[in-house]
Symmetry: C2
Subunit: 119 residues, 2 copies
């Protein structure tokens, strides 16, 4: 039962698209990740995902539209929906999602991170 | 799939200890609440709770110690652990917890909110 300081954890992350686990509860994880550039199109068959912007902004692309998510905003992407996050500049994002969630969903490629570091 | 702006939602909350639901995913809810003063001692038998401070600070009291949670920090209280939040000044808090979580846990009194408003 130690509190977690988000800024301290974020300061230790020096790469992109590589989520770290900073909290676990009820089978869910709180993850921190930095985005920069374009990710890949993917979907999660069994998991809804929440993206909360802590610093910066990014665009969540869907097949039929785009949603720009700014600092202090969050977006929930329901299971089954294809999406692709795109960040022009680096952005700090907090994720809430089931511990089973693979970052690239139904796609496995060089972006896939199967074993997330706990920081 | 609409994004949620936390400041806009918080601006519509004018009472204390009355959580509002602002997001739902994977059987969990994202709730916003303002604390001020002392809450009651309680525990949740089956739910872990996450408290993230968006603005201000509060103290989570446990039977054997206290943890001060500041803006930009979060604390996870595991199921079964008695706790009591205390805020000297008003504080904006984001909760992430199962949709089944009753705000007063094992206690039912005037603080209990059985049907949370979705805003």
């Amino acid at each position: 039962m130690e509190k977690v300081n988000l800024a301290e954890k974020l300061a230790s992350i020096h790469d992109h698209w590589n989520p770290r686990v900073v909290g676990e509860l009820n089978g869910q994880e709180i993850r921190l990740v930095k985005f920069a550039g374009e990710f890949i199109w993917h979907r999660h068959e069994n998991e809804d995902e929440m993206f909360m912007v802590l610093k910066g902004r990014f665009t969540m692309e869907f097949r039929d539209r785009k949603v720009r998510v700014e600092e202090g905003e969050f977006l929930i992407v329901p299971r089954g929906v294809e999406h692709r996050p795109v960040a022009i500049d680096e952005v700090d994002v907090l994720l809430f999602e089931p511990a089973t969630t693979l970052n690239t969903g139904n796609i496995v490629d060089a972006h896939t991170r199967r074993h997330l570091e706990h920081i």
